[in-house]
């Protein structure tokens, strides 16, 4: 596609519910990142994929967070047993390169998760 697409745009979850957030990167992009942006804050790194391989998951805040990219294109970020502190905008970004290069990243519009 022309850009990075994320769905849903908004998600309201009851505390304890599991949620799945989807990211469709730009076709052919090698790198895919997930970021978490709390209200009034800058985005914070969660995890990084190069094709289907998850090379870095050091930013995932707890073992309730899980991400996958099984075929090296679409990625899903899953949050189990959601807590109120998980409320944030979840941003996905992709890049045509395997390392940070001249293209930088293209970000999606994000999924705003509200846990009630």
């Amino acid at each position: 596609g022309a850009g990075v697409s994320q769905s849903p745009r908004y998600k309201v979850a009851k505390r304890g519910q599991d949620v799945a957030l989807r990211c469709d990167p730009i076709s052919g992009h090698v790198s895919l990142f997930w970021y978490q942006q709390a209200l009034g804050q800058g985005p914070e790194f969660l995890t990084y994929f190069q094709n289907e391989a998850q090379l870095d998951k050091s930013g995932l805040p707890s073992d309730r967070f899980f991400a996958e990219r099984p075929e090296g294109s679409v990625s899903t970020l899953k949050i189990q047993r959601t807590q109120q502190e998980d409320s944030a905008v979840y941003l996905c970004a992709s890049s045509p390169e395997g390392v940070l290069g001249q293209y930088g990243y293209t970000f999606g519009s994000g999924t705003r998760l509200t846990v009630v």
Partner: protein
Amino acid sequence: AQSVTQPDIHITVSEGASLELRCNYSYGATPYLFWYVQSPGQGLQLLLKYFSGDTLVQGIKGFEAEFKRSQSSFNLRKPSVHWSDAAEYFCAVGDGGGADGLTFGKGTHLIIQP
């Protein structure tokens, strides 16, 4: 660990006036530096980036930024702001490895007065 500081949480500028948004970074080697803009409910749009070479970089929408190694700064400037520039601006730093992604500042909220 790398870090980014944007010392101004809010800045108010009159339409047509000049703008400078400050960014200081902490990084051991030569960093890759970025400025992104975020409008309400939108994702991040890349304004400009610095990797190497000329320390004054030009971006989209009439923005420019200057890399000053001695001051560990990468300030964003625009000679004359427009009402449509009102948004949140984020400075970010990354390294060539890419695996750790970018480290973002907390952002500066730009308000444009008529």
